[in-house]
């Protein structure tokens, strides 16, 4: 104790100034599993979390009920009208589906879309306000693993980055550390979608000669990463040319308003690459591989 009093601050100064050098020069993973100390702190803080969870859920429920009631009559009329239109459309589509199935059988196609999912509620956001993640109230006990895709009704949301028994943390697609393999829906041109420090995402590494236009819909490619193909990610909002006159910066507006997502589906289908690595080298090898590549997530 006496030693700490005498040299504690000097040691602290030393470590505080050495730490940034180690942090910025290291090649460690962007995120890893929680350490023992973090798990201990979390366990101790569980009662506080319980209170917050309960309070926020109750208040959100109350606000939602009030908002729902305000426009209920107008909404009901609109839905009735929409329902009638949709039933006619559905009958037509059933016919199209039958025809599609017949044609697929003829061509020996195997049905690829067979997804299992778990639905979860968003509990909290990212307290850093700069990185972007959300916490869902579903975890390892529901079979969720890091690397699984998360989608909402409007489109892709993100990728599970960390799980514990009762929750999973999801890295949103607009986080600066996020990557996703995507295609332009109109011309099937492939590229990489990266998060940014702002609200939009950046479409990069497009194929040579790709013509991308403002308003083009960007969807998941399904070629790499955990997302099946064709899930809407966003729309091209702006295209600007960099001062070098060669490079284009394509900004994509997310289809999902991440701040308003309250429920999401976790697709119980992990990344194909991660599956292969897991089968070949086991979990430890996969962890080492993930840790050796900083900034890799998503596709």
């Amino acid at each position: 104790m006496l030693v700490f009093r005498r040299y504690g601050f000097a040691l602290l100064v030393l470590s505080a100034f050495v730490f940034p050098f180690a942090f910025y020069s290291s090649d460690v993973a962007v995120r890893r599993d929680l350490s023992f100390v973090e798990k201990l702190v979390y366990t101790v803080s569980r009662p506080v979390e319980f209170v917050f969870n309960l309070a926020t859920q109750q208040s959100r429920g109350l606000i939602r009920s009030y908002v729902d009631l305000r426009g209920a009559r107008v909404e009901a009329d609109r839905l009735k009208d929409e329902n009638a239109k949709l039933s006619v459309k559905m009958q037509l589509l059933q016919e199209v589906e039958k025809e599609n199935e017949r044609l697929q059988k003829l061509l020996n196609f195997v049905r690829q879309v067979n997804l299992k999912f778990v639905s979860g509620q968003v509990q909290s956001g990212d307290p850093s306000f700069l990185y972007k993640s959300i916490r869902l109230n579903r975890g390892e006990s529901e079979g969720i693993l890091p690397g699984m895709a998360v989608v909402a009704a409007e489109g892709a949301v993100g990728v599970v980055m960390r799980t514990l028994a009762g929750y999973s943390d999801v890295l949103l697609l607009n986080d600066p550390n996020s990557n996703l393999d995507v295609i332009v829906a109109r011309n099937r041109r492939r590229g990489m979608l990266e998060g940014s420090s702002g609200q939009t995402m950046l479409f990069k590494y497009a194929d040579r000669g790709s013509r991308v236009l403002v308003g083009d819909e960007i969807v998941t490619s399904g070629l790499t990463g955990p997302f099946p193909r064709g899930i809407v990610v966003g729309k091209v909002a702006r295209i600007r040319v960099e001062p070098d006159g060669v490079t284009q910066v394509i900004e994509v507006e997310p289809a999902v308003n991440f701040a308003e997502v309250s429920e999401a589906l976790i697709l119980l289908r992990s990344s194909r690459e991660v599956d292969v690595i897991r089968k070949l080298g086991g979990v430890d090898w996969m962890k080492k591989l993930v840790e050796s590549v900083p900034g890799r997530s998503g596709g």
């Binding site: 460690v28 909290s124 850093s128 993640s133 943390d169 420090s197």
Partner: protein
Amino acid sequence: MFRLRAWQVHASLMLLLSMFIVYLQAYVLGRMQSSWFHVDLATVFVVYVSIEHLLLGALVRIFVVAALMHMFSGAPDGFYLMFFMLALVISNILARFFALHKLNSQFLIFAGIFCLKFVLVYGSLSKVQRVPDGWAFLFKVAPSLIMTTLLSVPLFALFATIDSLFDASARRDHRQELVEN
């Protein structure tokens, strides 16, 4: 019969307060759409604790806040520990030169340390080749920076009031004596 001493109650309360602050930030403020609500309470708490509490106690509280923040955030590993340790050291060094019982001095030091956070975030984004445009980044973080800096003064006062309930301002008294002498 087991009786708690004042410092033990104070230490427990501070631990509870640190948890409350991080959960409030994650569950309520982190879900707000507008950046004007993004008040970084955890950093205010850490700076206050660094300035006003004894080193060992401050370290324990900072570790707890850093662990909880890391648990909720998508920030890279070790980011919060690095930032909070730097905040602790810088505020302690500055505390040797300024009369930090004055709120305006606390405000200035807090503003400086809070800006340091954005420099560190900028550096961590450059690490993964995602360097944001400087002005766009500044424009994005400005509301949070302004609101947190403005609210730091009443929050410091609130934390000081909690401390005064337990007569746990030994460090402040010590510094007051130094200033008076």
